[in-house]
């Protein structure tokens, strides 16, 4: 018994002692909501600790004193209406004391009105896409950690970065002290958009739009991870938000807008086969390698594209499966016509596939019906 008690005391004590270390508790709050959450949590923990110590103090007193080995005799009472009413009512009152402040925070969390900036976050298997609805550009945000750091099956692998699994190629950029509304949705399965330091978590549900908001108080980089099981690489789709000053934000937006214009594929461009294949390789590397692998040989449940019936058969079937998906193969309808045409052309002329043909964006466009 004694061992257990001191163990519990130690655990309790250490949890308070380490309260400032963010390995033990919440990450430092960057928004009002996150601070509210931490406050409620501390308040609840305090009440709970008091109840726990009181209730189990009584129990351990009984365990030490009312035992047969000390010759204690049982007193066979087994009812006491007043006590029973009290220990029903008092907890109920305590609960009200907990629920009241929490209810206020619920209302604040849900109030997404009057946001200055609206960003749509779309979950994909397995990365995030962001649309800056007010500024008209969008980009994808993917894990930057290389596979060579992740896969340690045969060797310890490369040394892991400090931001292992938490770094993306293109973070979301938002201005400081601005109410930002995040709309979440998904292209395939349910994901969840999370930034712990902002006290924000919102599931991204395919076919529906949900929203949440935050107003970051400090510049800096804040990180979260997808938190709804979304398949194979659920652990590998971080969310990174970079909070910058208003001016920096403006610069960034205009640069983005210009780049978007430049990068947009001209729908009327006449693509040559080689151009398409070169473009397709990029699309492949950023979307398809996770499953079908760089050599197109697949692995596990993911079929090889090298020599596959579809990738060497009629192009229609190939376009169809990429557009609509099948079982664990996601639908890639979210890519542009050009991207799809390119990646298909690439697949049909790589990994030892020599179809010789290629697919033009307009064919894809037609296939979308």
């Amino acid at each position: 018994m004694r061992v257990w008690r001191s163990g519990a005391a130690l655990a309790l004590f250490s949890s308070f002692a380490c309260a400032s270390d963010s390995r033990f508790t919440f990450q430092p709050a960057q928004t009002v909501i996150a601070r509210d959450i931490a406050d409620i949590h501390n308040w609840i923990m305090l009440i709970i600790a008091v109840i726990f110590v009181t209730v189990f103090g009584v129990m351990f007193y009984a365990i030490f004193k009312h035992r047969r080995s000390l010759g204690h005799q049982a007193k066979p009472f087994h009812e006491n209406t007043i006590v029973e009413i009290l220990w029903t009512l008092i907890p109920a009152l305590i609960l009200i004391g907990m629920a009241w402040p929490a209810a206020k925070v619920v209302l604040a969390q849900k109030d997404t009105h009057d946001a200055t900036l609206t960003i749509k976050a779309t979950g994909y298997q397995w990365f995030w896409g962001y649309d800056y609805l007010d500024s008209g550009f969008s980009f994808k945000s993917k894990l930057k950690t290389p596979r060579s750091q992740i896969e340690n099956y045969n060797s310890p692998g490369e040394p892991k970065d400090e931001k292992y699994l938490l770094d993306v190629d293109e973070p979301v950029v938002v201005p400081v002290n601005t109410k930002v509304r995040i709309l979440t949705t998904s292209n395939d399965v349910i994901h969840s958009w999370v930034i712990p330091a902002f006290g924000v978590r919102q599931d991204a549900i395919p076919g529906f739009i949900r929203d949440t908001w935050f107003k970051a108080e400090k510049e800096g980089v804040f990180r979260g991870q997808c938190s709804e099981l979304c398949g194979r690489d659920h652990g590998y789709m971080p969310i990174v938000v970079k909070v910058v000053s208003q001016n920096e934000y403006k610069d960034w937006v205009s640069k983005r807008q210009a780049a978007a214009k430049a990068a947009a594929d001209d729908p009327n461009k006449n693509w040559t086969k080689d151009e398409l294949i070169a473009r397709g390789q990029k699309v492949y590397e950023s979307n398809c390698v996770a499953c079908h692998k760089a050599d197109g040989k697949g692995g596990g449940p993911f079929p090889a594209l090298a020599g596959s019936k579809i990738a060497t058969g009629p192009a229609e079937a190939h376009i169809h499966i990429v557009l609509t998906g099948k079982n664990a193969m996601p639908s890639w309808a979210g890519l542009t016509d050009t991207e799809i045409a390119a990646v298909i052309s690439y697949e049909r002329n790589s990994f030892g596939n020599h179809d010789g043909d290629f697919v033009l964006p307009k064919t894809v466009k037609a296939a979308r019906k």
């Binding site: 949890s15 390995r23 033990f24 508790t25 990450q27 909501i33 959450i37 409620i40 189990f56 129990m59 009984a62 009312h66 035992r67 047969r68 080995s69 204690h72 049982a74 007193k75 066979p76 087994h78 009812e79 006491n80 006590v83 029903t88 109920a92 609960l95 907990m98 929490a102 925070v105 619920v106 969390q109 992740i150 099956y153 699994l165 938490l166 395939d188 399965v189 349910i190 999370v194 712990p196 006290g199 924000v200 978590r201 919102q202 599931d203 076919g207 529906f208 949900r210 997808c226 938190s227 099981l229 398949g231 659920h234 652990g235 596990g300 449940p301 998906g325 079982n327 664990a328 996601p330």
Partner: protein, 559 residues
């Protein structure tokens, strides 16, 4: 009965039949059932044999699920992918959850109910003995489906035990195996529960009114009721999943007006009562053990009954607390938060009653008592972390993190599982006729207690710091606690081998024969029969005097 008597009474009224047949029936019933070899188990209609089958099955499933848990913990010992491909890791998580819930914990309680309920309420057997056999024998095929699914193309279901679409719509054939396994498990649960409810309502000994039956019977009654209510709901949910997968329906697809969230609603209308299905019987077991070793009647019997019923009712109104992050309107968020917090009141009543039962007792600390006390402390911690999650704003920070994993292993492992160990030690003398080794029992307890906390306490820290659940790999700042949890898990697993050995040695003679009443504080009816309990008991109900004497000692009969 011979053909002549049969022919004599083709259409007699029931009352007369009872007179006419009593004697040759008694003869009949006493002797069938004593079959030898495999038939005894495969064709079993005896509640004790079926109970034994359930208990062994559930322990085997516990080992299987436990090995999967060790697979999870091994991968999570360090960041990076060491052993499994991520998709296999997800299969491990999913099967671990499904097997532990449906294969280990639930059948263990049904097995206990089978073994003990007829003994405790003075019934000759379960109400529907043949159906009882079917309830059990549907479990091995279901387990087989789950295990076979590991080897089909695409592997086993990997969408988590909650099977949320669209992920589970995407999955391969393994998901269909899981769906059908759940159908079989559901049928089994419904039949088992109908048996339990009917036995309790219809077959109690004379003098044992509902408000005088052992608390374990009460908790099983409410549990069985919950299960009959929600197992069909789960069956409906997975059926919709199946048709969405293969027959083009749009229940969970926005393109046809459906909604993935619909599945979550239906699942949790099943799922939350389900967690109480795993908790209430544990409450019942603890309510039997504590009075026995405190040598005092259970404090506040009637309020305990009310509390169990209140939990039974409230558990249908809180499902939304699993869905705080899906984007409910504020009103729903508040409603589910308040209702969930309310459950702390009846649960608190139970905790306080248990402590009052120990207060001024004459306690001894045999292994069952240790597990009951361990249960009490750790379940309460799990309940408190549940309460933290119940606060919707805080859940926004903690949902789908390891905090939740910590919460539910406190209530499931230190709750349901510890109570099962307590029950096993408590009734082993009655089952086997021998005493188990108290020393090794205590070692099992302390080892489990310490290893359990090493495994699962750090998970709260991980969750607070933001580590998502269901990931095979994690950022570096989570390493320390994960390594700790993994070490703890292997230690905890090792302790369970001690339990297995102790049980087997008890069956083989233990530390000596057990008396009919091994615990001097036990006053329920099972202690009135010999140890080991004969194959047939209470063929004639216990006489009222015996029943009343026992009730008086339990503080349930006055004057």
């Amino acid at each position: 009965m011979n053909a002549a008597t049969k022919a004599l009474h083709p259409g007699e009224s029931v009352g007369e039949q009872v007179h006419g047949h009593t004697h040759d029936h008694a003869h009949d019933d006493a002797h069938h059932g004593a079959q030898e070899g495999w038939r005894r188990w495969v064709y079993a209609t005896n509640h004790k044999d079926i109970g034994t089958l359930y208990l062994w099955f559930s322990f085997a499933m516990f080992l299987v699920g436990g090995v999967m848990a060790l697979g999870i913990r091994a991968e999570l010992f360090q960041p990076g992918l060491q052993f499994w491909q991520p998709e296999f890791f997800n299969q491990l998580t999913t099967l671990h959850g499904v097997i532990m819930v449906f294969g280990a914990i639930m059948p263990a309680f049904t097995g206990l109910a089978n073994w003990m309920l007829p003994l405790m309420i003075g019934a000759p057997d379960m109400a529907f003995a043949r159906m009882n056999n079917w309830s059990f024998w549907l479990l091995p095929p279901a387990a087989a489906l789950l295990l076979i699914s590991l080897f089909v193309p695409g592997g086993a279901a990997a969408g988590g035990w909650t099977l949320y679409p669209p992920l589970s719509i995407q999955a391969g054939m393994g998901m269909d195996f899981a769906i059908f396994a759940i159908h079989l498990l559901g049928i089994s649960s419904i039949m088992g529960s109908i048996n339990i409810v009917t036995t309790i309502l219809n077959m109690r000994a004379p003098g044992m009114t509902l408000l005088k039956m052992p608390m374990f019977a009460w908790t099983m009654l409410v549990t069985a009721y919950l299960l009959i209510a929600v197992a069909p709901v789960l069956a409906g949910a997975v059926t919709m999943l199946l048709t969405d997968r293969h027959f083009g329906t749009h229940f969970f697809k926005a393109a046809g007006g459906g909604d993935p969230i619909l599945f979550q609603h239906i699942f949790w209308i099943f799922g939350h009562p389900e967690v109480y299905i795993m908790a209430l019987p544990a409450f019942g077991v603890v309510s039997q053990i504590l009075p026995t070793f405190a040598r005092k009647p259970l404090f506040g019997y009637v309020s305990m009954v009310y509390a169990v019923c209140a939990i039974g009712i409230l558990s249908f109104m809180v499902w939304g607390h699993h869905m705080f992050a899906v984007g409910f309107p504020a009103t729903a968020q508040l409603f589910f938060m308040f209702m969930t917090m309310l459950i702390a009141v009846p649960t608190g009543v139970k905790v306080f009653n248990w402590i009052a039962t120990m207060w001024q007792g004459e306690m001894t600390f045999e292994t069952p008592m240790l597990f009951a006390i361990g249960f009490l402390c750790l379940f309460t911690i799990g309940g408190f972390s549940g309460l933290v999650l119940a606060l919707a704003p805080v859940d926004i920070a903690l949902h789908a993190t390891y905090y939740v994993v910590g919460h539910f292993h406190y209530v499931l492992v230190a709750g349901a599982l510890f109570s099962l160990f307590g029950a096993a030690y408590y009734w082993l003398p009655k089952w086997t006729g021998y005493m188990y080794s108290e020393f090794w029992g205590k070692v099992h307890f302390w080892w489990s207690m310490i290893a359990f906390n090493i495994t699962f306490f750090p998970m709260h820290f991980l969750g607070l710091a933001g580590m998502p659940r269901r990931i095979p790999d994690y950022p570096l700042q989570f390493t320390t606690f994960n390594s700790m949890a993994s070490v703890g898990a292997f230690l905890f697993g090792t302790a369970q081998i001690l339990f297995l050995i102790n049980v087997i040695r008890t069956i083989r003679g233990g530390v000596g024969p057990a008396p009919a009443r091994p615990w001097d504080g036990g006053h329920t009816l099972e202690w009135e029969v010999a140890s080991p309990a004969p194959h047939h008991t209470w063929e004639t109900p216990p006489d009222e005097a015996t029943v009343v004497a026992g009730l008086r000692l339990q503080g349930l009969e006055h004057s």
